[in-house]
């Protein structure tokens, strides 16, 4: 299975995302923001970083990159898409996911190993986890506060679309401790923490993040 990782100007974690795909047993395919062709990939990851320098709003300019037209079209017809950190911001700006991410309420950039509780295993990216499972993955953001109106938040919770929540201190003021959410169909997932940095004990706090990548590979094999 071929998993593409989009590099925007200012992406930082594209190389780690490609490495995570390889660790999970997938074929990692680098994609470029200026292309419109997805190179025959089966799923796409939008990595973390500061695409377009976070100018205007995080993700606001990347959302209109040429490749995003294709990503949005394919996501609407079921292709799995994972947005991590800046990628999550891009998915919200592109309206593939509801809500928005604003500056952390405590006004500091947070960089730490973060405990999360996986809340849904019914998405393309979390099927290898069990609901309630606690995992530790790095978190590093200045604008990671997830906000949405009350109706949207109720809808996300009612439809099993909250993918993960922060355990312990809420690092950024995200409403209802939400760390990640999914689209109604479950193929699009946005996550503020970084599972791609937790796939190898040599380079991260553990391997708790690897199952995001093995989940999507299992999902794609089952769908093939």
């Amino acid at each position: 299975m071929r998993l593409g990782v989009v590099t925007f100007p200012g992406s930082l974690d594209d190389v780690d995302a490609l490495r995570a795909v390889r660790f999970a047993g997938g074929e990692a395919v680098p994609l470029w923001h200026g292309d419109t062709d997805l190179g025959g990939v089966d799923a796409v990851i939008l990595p973390g970083g500061f695409s377009y320098g976070d100018y205007l709003r995080c993700g606001a300019i990347s959302r209109f990159a040429p490749i995003m037209t294709t990503v949005v079209d394919r996501a609407r017809t079921g292709m799995p898409v994972l947005g991590i950190c800046n990628g999550f911001q891009v998915l919200c700006e592109a309206h593939l996911l509801p809500g928005a991410l604003i500056r952390n309420d405590q006004r500091k950039f947070v960089c730490r190993d973060q405990r999360l509780r996986v809340e849904s295993s019914s998405t393309a990216w979390t099927s290898s986890y069990t609901v309630g499972q606690e995992i530790v993955v790095p978190l590093k953001n200045g604008e990671g506060g997830f906000v949405a109106d009350q109706r949207t938040l109720d809808e996300l919770e009612g439809e099993d679309r909250v993918v993960a929540r922060y355990v312990g201190d809420n690092p950024n003021g995200s409403y209802r401790d939400i760390a990640g959410i999914a689209s109604a169909a479950g193929n699009v997932v946005g996550l503020m923490p970084h599972p791609e940095h937790a796939i190898d004990p040599l380079t991260g706090p553990g391997t708790d993040g690897l199952a995001f990548f093995t989940s999507v590979l299992a999902h794609l094999v089952a769908a093939a």
């Binding site: 205007l56 709003r57 919200c92 928005a100 500056r103 309420d105 006004r107 906000v147």
Partner: protein, 82 residues
């Protein structure tokens, strides 16, 4: 040449951490204020007449790119440039 000004503000119900930081700094300087909200101002030169259709076009720009309607409100108006 007339220009169009777009002002973008965080919605009242959305926390504005930048405004909170500015308010804190003003307090430390001895300026007591009740609240500060920080927004953005865009000055757009259209290079032509600013009529109703042009303003509608700028509103489209604002809702598509300049503002995120989930968290921000915007206002559009014509202004004589200096």
């Amino acid at each position: 040449m007339p220009r169009v000004v777009v002002e973008v503000m965080p919605k009242p119900e959305i926390l504005d951490p930048q405004g909170v930081a500015v308010r804190g700094a003003l307090g430390r300087l001895g300026f007591e204020v009740a609240d500060v909200r920080q927004g953005k101002r865009f000055e757009i030169e259209l290079g032509g007449e600013v009529d109703g259709a042009a303003l509608d076009r700028v509103r489209e720009m604002a809702s598509m790119l300049l503002a995120n309607p989930v968290i921000e409100d915007f206002a559009v108006r014509a202004e004589e440039s200096a």
